[in-house]
Symmetry: C2
Subunit: 330 residues, 2 copies
């Protein structure tokens, strides 16, 4: 697979976005977010998603000129209206607001309604951690998964992010509610590999490791069966209530997925006692766990991502030839 | 199985607790929490756990006279030191603080360190919802589960609670990080039933539905394999950092589990636009999902618990004869 330097990927995204008439500061921000997502190994929401993002800009689904507006709030809690602007721009702004509120009030919470897909959820957790805060954020989606006990899609795949700052590399959880996210499922399908554990049901209702069969049945498996299903329901409701925006079932009544609801929470731990020591002890304790696989030590959440980042910065970012060619021709 | 009226269960707990010299207001609070946990079907943290709670009071592990103290804070974020007092008393106080902070700042967050087992996690989510707030809370524990990739216990089973207020009965997620909580595992073991889905690994490293084999191997399965393992790590770190308290690996260095760390978040949605309508629409949408099992409609999280509560209030609370006899003789 071809590997491209980070700067070259960024420049290609930046050039294409400027041609869409996205404002220069927004083009820079979005190009950076897409390039960093690929840099960190999240190709499904980096290069692979970029052509679709540009198509949504060109079709007008994303309003490139819309500026998010504060719609309400009380102290450390604010509601913002994303006005169907670019998802990564709105999300970055709202996590910035949560960080600022946390600086003032200890914790800050921003509910963002009426926004578009933010691409990689983890990006906004890392943003909070870069500012020395614990970051929690999640988004709802349209109905992408059946609730437990049904085969009919009703609930969102609402990715949940928790990030803890760490000088040597943040701890980052970034997980969809299905055993394999939509992006990961696409990666397995394109490489014609089976999932390592069952990822959903086939059309006959049997658990399967075949990503094509799950794509066909539209029955991804929630993590922990009923538990991931329940977590998806609650994350959706909290996002809709805190932002005053659409819930998953309301998004489902539209022809397409837009106007989703998101939550951004930052907690100020810059003065937390023993912050660095507590985190390092936990990391060392995990690393000391005897591994069941000689070739893979036990890792903290986000550790594999940091290793991929270093490798990609050193050796270039692997690009899917089709998507890369598509971007070059844009 | 014998069924006991709620008041009779409460009175029995109350009588025993007063004999331990717990202060009258604390005896009332703890008796209510234990009785309500059984009322809601969480017998593992109601009657079944009560004799152990009393033993911990008598042995001095729980300091019945200790009053939690505010140890720090900024605006909407506070740290409290539980001083090894009774877990349910400390937890109730800290969720009350979070609710009060949410009234003032929109959101409130309290980190509680140095506390003891709070029994049923969901109780404190319901407390926030009763006050018209969204409630999020979790606790860490000692090392009860292997992290993904290891067979050695290193991570906590850190139950996570999210509650959304609803006039006809709150929506409540209350979930351990293992596919079956410690309490649920005990219920299956006592009734000699297999789990409906694999709940962990046996000592040979194979996935199994046998609760005894998992009890033996000490290898419960995290929900969603690596995902639940990662979520457990993050919930632990956030609890330890926000409270300034012990992390799971630090608790693991003690001979027994005490002095755990907890987080209580309340979000003020009393003025949220369309609060009731958004929640009702989501509930109706879930109820409209075609069920795979004719006898069990698709339910929202907490709905089964509410049905159990109504049944138990009407027909009496089922009690395990051994535990009930033990309490009567205390």
């Amino acid at each position: 697979m071809q590997r491209i330097p980070f700067e070259k990927l960024y420049d290609a995204f930046h050039r294409v976005l400027l041609k869409t008439d996205l404002a220069p500061d927004r083009a820079e921000l979005c190009a950076r977010i897409f390039a960093e997502n690929s840099r960190d190994g999240v190709y499904s929401h980096g290069l692979n998603r970029f052509p679709g993002f540009v198509r949504h800009i060109r079709s007008g689904r994303i309003d490139i000129g819309a500026a998010a507006q504060k719609a309400g709030g009380l102290g450390a809690l604010e509601q913002w209206d994303g006005r169907l602007g670019p998802g990564p721009v709105n999300a970055t702004l709202c996590m910035d607001r949560a960080i600022a509120l946390a600086g003032e009030h200890g914790i800050g919470c921003v509910g963002l309604r009426n926004t578009n897909h933010w691409m990689r959820a983890g990006a906004y957790g890392l943003q909070a951690a870069d500012a020395g805060c614990i970051g929690l954020c999640w988004t709802n989606t349209g109905p992408l998964m059946p609730p437990w006990g049904s085969a009919t899609r009703k609930i969102g795949n609402n990715p949940l992010v928790i990030a803890v700052p760490r000088p040597e590399g943040h701890i980052l959880l970034d997980m969809a509610m299905s055993q394999f996210s939509g992006g990961k499922t696409e990666v397995y399908r394109r490489s014609r590999r089976p999932f390592p554990v069952p990822g959903g049901y086939d059309s006959a209702g049997a658990l399967t490791c075949d990503p094509d069969a799950i794509h066909e049945s539209k029955r991804p498996l929630p993590i922990g069966y009923w538990k991931g299903s329940g977590l998806a329901v609650l994350l959706d409701l909290v996002a809709a209530l805190v932002s005053g925006g659409r819930s998953t079932c309301q998004i489902g009544r539209q022809k397409e997925e837009y106007g989703v609801s998101q939550v951004f929470i930052a907690i100020n731990v810059r003065t937390a006692p023993h912050l660095v020591q507590t985190v390092e002890e936990a990391v060392q304790d995990l690393h000391s766990a005897p591994s069941l696989d000689q070739n893979t030590p036990v890792r903290y959440p986000g550790e594999g991502m940091l290793q991929t980042r270093q490798d990609n910065l050193k050796n270039g970012i692997p690009v899917d030839a089709d998507y890369w060619q598509e971007v070059l021709e844009m």
